[in-house]
Symmetry: C2
Subunit: 509 residues, 2 copies
């Protein structure tokens, strides 16, 4: 990364953001029919000018620290809707006092020692693509954003055992580029792929974009190396073990609160050559749901199994027939299993339709730029996602739609749903919510919608997050989801590894 300028306020590369004219064209051509917008565009923010930091970097490693306003502003937030809109409005009341960019594990150890002594909080930062307030410290202490992007070495590619030893700060594209000459791939493509790191994926239990099989980053982990304020923790590199509770499990999803993940051994795969795919239309949405359920319960493991509800199918797959769409794909030896899945679809009233041209993955990766344009057009646009059992899905889906509508201004919201992942025992539905905002009240309006839909999710047996992590924004619902004694056990682990509580305070415990 780094040779193209990253946007400090919005998604990705600054030069890929839609300019004012493009925003207005988007409004005119795509949005007017759907949503009451006036076409005015929130101007791009001025370069930030922040109050001086409350911390002085340690002199022995001062070159690892940045204190300029732009760097600090760029590390103040993640990339959720509420982050982008606040940055657009220049609202940066609690930016990091310093940004630390360690080059080595030793730098991290030194930075943690220094922070403990200085009474500073330390928030580990990968690509900064959190959508749950995971990298935004909200407490009173002075704080440091610990940006791991210089810890970007791909240390070893083991072709025999199909694994890669990689440092935490490596971004998705760099990892795939290094693997490609070996005809290998991690095959982990979260939407943030271009702007998130291996360490971030591990700390947040990131979900890849494949629907079944090994897709969550957890599935690829052989071993982790973590630096805690009390010292290093390493797990052994093994294909599998039954020796005690899984040590990796303590750090996967720990969101920087138990330690700084610095390196991992990850399983990689030969790039699949065989692929088969199809699109299926379902006149009745619930029949599509039943077909997907039967496909996964039959033991089929489609790489793609995205069921789009009729609105999502119209907006994102150009389907104007009012039908739901199932995008099906199989890879590798499973490519021959597509016909069996299509037969199940036909049994449920599905008909094969033309596949939309263009790569879903490309569109998927570019979607956040469009999101930023919608934000500049004054819309509230955000996603929520969950997983629940099949039995819970129908009511959860209905309640999320109703809750979003009820909480939206003027009770008008476009809410769409697709399945991102499917399991034999239930789907992972992903909702997109778009509704007009009100200048200056965007965050308050969204927070109200978010609370309403989160209540609808958790009261219908859904988890508060299938793959967006907990951060600060999901904490109330996460606390309702886990047992108090498990919380106590995590707190005890935290006290052991981070006795002064400097690591990402406010997250996890």
């Amino acid at each position: 990364m780094g040779y193209r300028e990253r946007s400090w306020w919005g998604w990705g590369h600054a030069d890929e953001a839609l300019d004012d004219a493009a925003c207005r064209r988007l409004a005119e051509r795509a949005l007017r029919p759907w949503l009451p917008i006036d076409g005015s565009v929130i101007p791009l923010p001025f370069d930030p000018l922040l109050p001086p930091p409350r911390l002085i970097p340690p002199s022995i490693m001062a070159e690892a620290f940045l204190a300029d306003s732009m760097s600090r502003a760029a590390h103040a937030y993640g990339k959720a809707f509420r982050d982008v809109v606040r940055a657009l409005h220049g609202e940066l009341p609690n930016p990091p006092d310093l940004v630390c960019l360690p080059r080595t594990v030793h730098d991290i150890v030194a930075a943690l020692d220094w922070a403990e002594a200085a009474g500073a909080a330390v928030v580990p930062y990968g690509g900064g693509s959190s959508v749950v307030g995971g990298v935004e410290y909200r407490g009173e202490r002075p704080w440091v954003s610990l940006d791991l992007s210089r810890l970007n070495r791909i240390a070893e590619i083991d072709e025999v055992n199909r694994a890669v030893r990689v440092q935490a700060g490596v971004f998705g594209p760099a990892l795939e580029e290094a693997l490609r000459p070996h005809d290998l791939t991690l095959r982990h493509f979260p939407q943030s792929f271009e702007f998130s790191t291996v360490g971030g994926w591990l700390a947040t239990r990131s979900g890849g974009h494949f629907a079944t099989g090994p897709t969550r980053i957890d599935d690829f982990v052989e071993a982790l190396r973590v630096v805690t304020p009390q010292g290093p923790v390493e797990s052994p590199r093994l294909p599998a073990t039954g020796a005690g509770p899984d040590p990796n499990g303590l750090f996967l999803g720990s969101e920087g609160a138990l330690g700084v993940i610095v390196e991992a051994w990850l399983r990689v795969q030969r790039r699949p050559t065989l692929k088969s795919s199809a699109a299926v239309g379902f006149p009745v949405y619930s029949h599509g749901v039943a077909a997907v359920k039967e496909i996964v319960q039959a033991g089929l493991r489609p790489a793609n199994c995205r069921l789009l509800d009729p609105v999502e199918a119209m907006l994102n797959a150009g389907a104007t027939d009012g039908q739901a769409r199932l995008m099906l794909g199989f890879e590798g030896p499973d490519a021959v299993l597509l016909p069996g899945a299509l037969e199940i679809c036909r049994d449920h009233g599905g008909t094969e339709t033309e596949r939309s041209s263009g790569s879903f993955r490309d569109a998927f990766l570019k979607a956040p730029y469009t999101r930023d344009a919608l934000v500049r057009l004054g819309l509230i646009v955000e996603t929520v996602e969950t997983a629940c059992t099949w039995s819970h899905f129908e009511a959860l889906h209905a309640d999320v739609l109703a809750a979003a509508q009820r909480a939206a201004p003027a009770r008008v919201a476009v809410v769409t749903c697709r399945f991102t992942h499917v399991y034999p025992d239930g789907p992972a539905p992903y909702f997109t919510i778009i509704t007009p905002g009100r200048r200056g009240a965007e965050v308050a309006i969204w927070d109200e919608i978010k609370a309403a839909v989160s209540d609808a999710i958790t009261s219908n047996g859904g988890t508060i997050t299938h793959h967006h992590a907990v951060g600060r924004d999901h904490r109330p619902w996460y606390d309702g989801e886990r047992s108090p004694l498990f919380h106590d056990a995590l707190r005890a682990a935290k006290r052991t590894l981070d006795p002064r509580g400097i690591l990402n305070p406010g997250v996890l415990v």
Copy 2:
């Protein structure tokens, strides 16, 4: 269970143990050619008569406690070689003072409260099939074996979402019998299947007998309910979640040291109708290893992929051609993928051979009875297992064989190897070691061999256990395998959940 008498000293049902004549026939027909044995048979032990217990059961739930010698003796050990031989010789120096058989979760809460007050240790006990000293308390305190076999309710079968809510004390056959009318199966068949429980599987991260795909009990867990001395811990029932570190992961493999697992929601499957299988002979063992590696790395997921080395193939598959044997099987939609796997085998010099008649699973489940007969014939017979990367396997295999030979009396041991599970990054080799014992010195001799092979395993990058758990016998090597700080974090969790340290002391931390 219960309608047929369980053996207190050896495996399974007392009436399935080989009698003296059968032991002698086995010696004459199968063993003489291989091993220097004299054909004498260790007599069956007398019924045990133990010193009086050091604990008095609480009067309000006295009916849940047993204090008779036979019950206490039957709960003194697991079923490892060293357990069976000690019981055969009547060596029972530290049996439980009481056996507690709770009928309800409330009974367990009351029993833990009582034990805390009485200063007693509590060792959770499922089917008692541990082969690692997991249920054998070796400390000084008076102790209670908490036998969960009366907590045997199958509370709910959810056909829609393919899951079952089951109490910890349910044995394998009872669970499968309950699922069969629904055409469902857990499809988890550890060798101890008949004589182990759901709770035991969960507490020890048991491995099923399928070679790939969901096979370890961890893979089937939706939710757990655990009783700790500080109160209950429950995880939510979800197909998947990314919310924080996995709470199930703390208790899977905790071997009764962090809490008593009392109930679980487990994923079940439709019974597969399609199956395909084949046996392949490899003149060169390492070529078979290479074929298996290529099969799993190609993304094929055979249900069975047992590679037997030439000695194992001769002893357990009747192969007299000196070749290694690969037993391959595919199930469900994958049944069509067998030809692809066979092609890979041919590329590596394999030739399809006749499959041995008879069910492997039946023979597999009966093997422990034969083991007991061999013990009575004065042999040392035990297994060790591990998992390692493909790169490590050749040296690990050679070193385990050499270490066993070196440590065996007269340096003569039959050592065989098969793969029980295979992963893209490495196999799980399972070694059987048979060598003549010396009356009265069996345990000492085995412990020496065990130490030698365990050192050979861990010094070659293998885990001390792929699926037999740690218990007390594997502790030294487990402690070498995990980071000291992870140990500290587990200890902190233990102090939080079990502040007086009554649960299975000596295990885990």
